[in-house]
């Protein structure tokens, strides 16, 4: 008798399972048909780091103090900077990121006392490893600034570059560079 009831209830459980899957069959798909469709990426998405653009001064906030390189657990960052003639502090001239080692932990961003770096939102990078092993963030910064029609700051010739169109020397401490949404995200860059 046990076998009969078990068979019967077992068969009913199978029918229940079938009704569930057929309901799912007629529901819309939940996939996003990449690349025909894309999703909006979260604002706080952790892509590789990039230099922020200070609208006020037109140059990156980075002073090549190396605190980010010291904070990094994987030793990804190699910096260099010079002290331009007539300026008070150093300015970064070369910022190389080894993205093949980076674990996106944000410790560098938290270590930076000048708020010079931020996460980009590049989620769909695909390139050869030697391109990632030597990401040139200063070049990226220069490309981004050029794309908005400004002239990038050149630390080797500070006097030649005028401050960009934004109001210069108003309140240097008050204006904090706006997040990455102020610079257009490049769609195809190595």
């Amino acid at each position: 008798m046990n076998l009969v009831t078990e068979t019967f209830s077992g068969f009913l459980s199978l029918l229940t399972g079938l009704t569930i899957t057929i309901k799912q069959f007629f529901s819309p798909t939940i996939t996003t048909h990449y690349p025909h469709q894309t999703l909006t990426i979260a604002k706080k998405f952790r892509g590789h780091i990039e230099l922020k653009w200070n609208e006020e001064t037109g140059k990156p906030n980075c002073t090549a103090c190396n605190l980010c390189a010291k904070a990094c657990p994987s030793d990804c960052i190699v910096l260099d900077g010079i002290k331009p003639a007539g300026e008070k502090g150093k300015t970064v001239t070369s910022y190389k990121l080894d993205y093949t080692l980076c674990s996106l932990c944000s410790l560098c961003i938290e270590a930076c006392p000048f708020d010079a770096i931020q996460h980009s939102n590049r989620y769909n990078l695909a390139s050869l490893p030697n391109q990632w092993a030597n990401m040139d963030l200063v070049q990226r910064y220069k490309d981004q600034v050029t794309r908005v029609g400004k002239t990038p700051y050149d630390p080797y010739a500070p006097a030649a570059v005028a401050a960009p169109a934004a109001s210069p020397a108003a309140e240097p401490a008050a204006a904090i560079p706006s997040p990455s949404s102020s610079l257009p995200a490049p769609s195809s860059q190595p």
Binding site: S13, L14, I20, T21, A42, K44, R46, A71, P73, L107
Partner: protein, 375 residues
């Protein structure tokens, strides 16, 4: 129904052959090699050979400052990244006597429980996939997408979050996250009802797990098993109740315990744990206070000389982190006592005499993540 078991008759050195289970697996277990000595269909001896993904996490702890070790903690068991990081920051805070503000504790609890649910969903889906049902894992991943989207909005990562810091969390949560978590609870409850009808009640599934892989409480004690494996064998031990940490003692939740000791018991423990996690999230989202999200941490963090231990309940069991410090910026030794290592060690004894497909079902019920075994 009688489950076939090998009855050893006559000469124990009868002809057996050796085959390898792994290290390449079609299932999501990871790189684990199990050397099986088989007598026809039945397993005579199963010997796990771990170490294929040994990444020296404990050694890395000796070469990095405490803050620099944070990304490592997420990668030991990538499915329970939040709870593992919780153990590590808890240990450091305990040693250095760092205060954690209440809002940060609430955020930690909510994110840890969301992480626990997503980890159980993967374990559940992968188990059914091992048994041949390829559909429930995709439904589980659909639910998991919602959790991952919530966590991505506040942390920026989807799997290996480096979100907790000493003294709190690295960034505050906004109202969207709280509303999203509140809305997730009834949605997940509806889905759990559907999974109960689709899988738990299904007779084919029941025949594959009922009575399979009995692990007695005595065997668990011998090998040091923990987590759902232990609670499925009738032992009521959960770190959140037995050694309460963070603010878990302020929430009202139960510990599911089943006495049958078979794979079905472990399955039901995990399903009920998802429900209990939803309860905790509900209560935490209702009570979360305003305030700072990170406490004061000295710029150069050095722990006092000596040992500090901290245990948390992760999706797979009890993780214990012991930090031995000699007063420097880097730890002298970080010892990770991971749950999957001890859970796997009982596989050798538990699988003796079982048929192979039943042994695979047993291994899936242990819910192993191999990087957790090898660290």
């Amino acid at each position: 129904m009688n489950i076939p078991k090998l009855i050893p008759v006559g000469d124990p050195s009868a002809e057996t052959f050796t085959i390898n289970l792994g290290p390449q697996h079609p299932a999501t277990h990871g790189v684990l090699r199990v050397k099986l000595e088989m007598d026809g269909e039945f397993i005579v001896n199963a010997q796990p050979v771990p170490g294929y993904i040994h990444r020296m996490h404990e050694k890395m702890g000796e070469n990095r400052t405490y803050a620099q070790y944070l990304p490592n903690t997420s990668r030991i068991d990538y499915l329970s990244a939040m709870t593992y990081t919780h153990a590590f920051v808890g240990a450091v805070e305990k040693a250095a006597k760092i205060e954690v503000p209440l809002r940060a504790e609430y955020i930690r609890v909510i994110t840890s429980e969301l992480n626990r649910i997503s980890s159980h969903l993967v374990g559940w889906g992968a188990w059914i996939m091992d048994l041949g049902g390829f559909t429930p894992i995709l439904y589980a991943f659909d639910d998991r997408e919602k959790i991952l989207d919530l966590l991505e909005a506040i942390t920026g990562s989807r799997l290996t979050y480096c979100y907790y810091r000493f003294g709190g969390v690295c960034d505050d949560v906004d109202q969207d996250f709280i509303d999203g978590s509140k809305a997730f609870v009834p949605y997940m409850r509806k889905r759990m009802k559907m999974y109960k009808k689709l899988v738990t009640g299904n007779i084919i599934f029941r025949k594959r797990v009922e009575g399979i892989g009995p692990i007695s409480a005595e065997m668990c004690r011998k090998y040091g098993a923990c987590g759902p494996v232990l609670r499925g064998s009738g032992v009521n031990y959960d770190v959140r109740k037995a050694e309460p940490y963070s603010i878990y003692n302020q929430f009202d939740f139960d510990i599911p315990v089943y006495n049958e000791c078979d794979s079905l018991a472990r399955y039901l423990v995990r399903m009920d744990e998802i429900e209990q996690s939803l309860r905790i999230i509900e209560q935490a989202c209702a009570k979360i206070p305003e305030g700072p999200f990170q406490g004061k941490v000295p710029r150069v963090l050095k722990l006092p000389v000596g040992d500090t231990c901290f245990a948390t309940e992760c999706g797979r069991g009890r993780l214990l982190i012991r930090i031995t410090s000699d007063g420097k910026e880097e730890a002298y030794r970080i010892r990770l006592r991971t749950p999957c290592f001890t859970n796997l060690s009982l596989f050798e004894e538990a699988s003796q005499g079982m048929m192979l497909a039943d042994a695979i079902s047993l291994m899936a019920s242990l819910d192993l993540v191999i990087p957790d075994i090898d660290r």
